[in-house]
Amino acid sequence: MNDLPEGNPARLERAVEVWLGSPEALGGLAGRDLLDDAERARADRFLRPEPQVTYTSAHALVRRALSAYAPVEPRQWRFSVGEHGRPDVDPRTPGLDADTRRLAFNLSHTRGLVAVAVSTVPAIGVDVEWIGRKNDLRRLAAAKFAPAERGRLEREVDEQAFRRRFFRYWTLKESYLKARGTGITLPLDAFAFQVECGAPVDVAFDAVLGDDPSAWQFEVSDVGTEHALAVAVGRGVDAPDLAVRIFTAGVGRP
């Protein structure tokens, strides 16, 4: 567990901080007190309790994490929604100044894990996945991944190794799409990641994406034995890398 001083945006200069926790460790439905009416209504629309718990704890974590960097109470944050449904901090949130209005965040959750990335760089994306999920990964890779990625996956004969590599590619792809704010409207095979031990994550973009690999920084890692995590940062062409710091969050802390 890590504690943060309140209202300190200076921590985020040239940095991305990622807060992780299981829905249970984050207090589950107790986080409901922090949500606004729209968030509570959305939590209530889920037909089963498990997604309600995950949604509630995730959105409560967003509010608590943001409050670690600005003098705003968790309940007071306001959000706006972009064209593809990506939420952002509403700069009209009371208490923000020129620095803290630049706060950007991204949220991801999967079975057993919630992640919130916070930065002052607007183009950030985070994705977490439970690597035990039952989807047909080989079919997905064959249909949607870039040829170079498919080739490297096909060479993984061990099922666990295949699974780990698949979810590294998948979380990287999702984090990139989320950082761009487009969702899966871009073709997943138009960008290919290369992830090898000890080397920085490498990416190649097809011309159709109109993007430049030198504008991006990617981080990917395992979280325990059951989850994968990736972070995408659109830090600008040839800009220096940001520090990516990952913390475990709990009840009463971000």
């Binding site: 889920f46 498990e50 997604p51 079919r139 969702g183 899966i184 409207t185 073709p187």
Partner: protein, 91 residues
Amino acid sequence: MTPEEVVVAIKDIIQTIAPDEEVDGLDMNERLRDQIELDSMDFLDIVMELRKLYGVQVPEEDYKELGTLQGCVDYLGPKLADKELHCASRA
């Protein structure tokens, strides 16, 4: 396939991909992702099942049309009009 059968087809595919989910109570006009735990990977699985079972191709730019059950009926109805319903989860 009638519009009612399109709904059965979509619910059946969701049930195959996410067996824990409760599809009977789904509202036609609420977003699917607001009612059940369905993420991007599940959504791609739905698209691939539609292709496998019915030969229907859904390009990336049209994914947004499948956000609700009513959207699925409106978008897929014409494409599935001459297809027969298969129930994958009970096959």
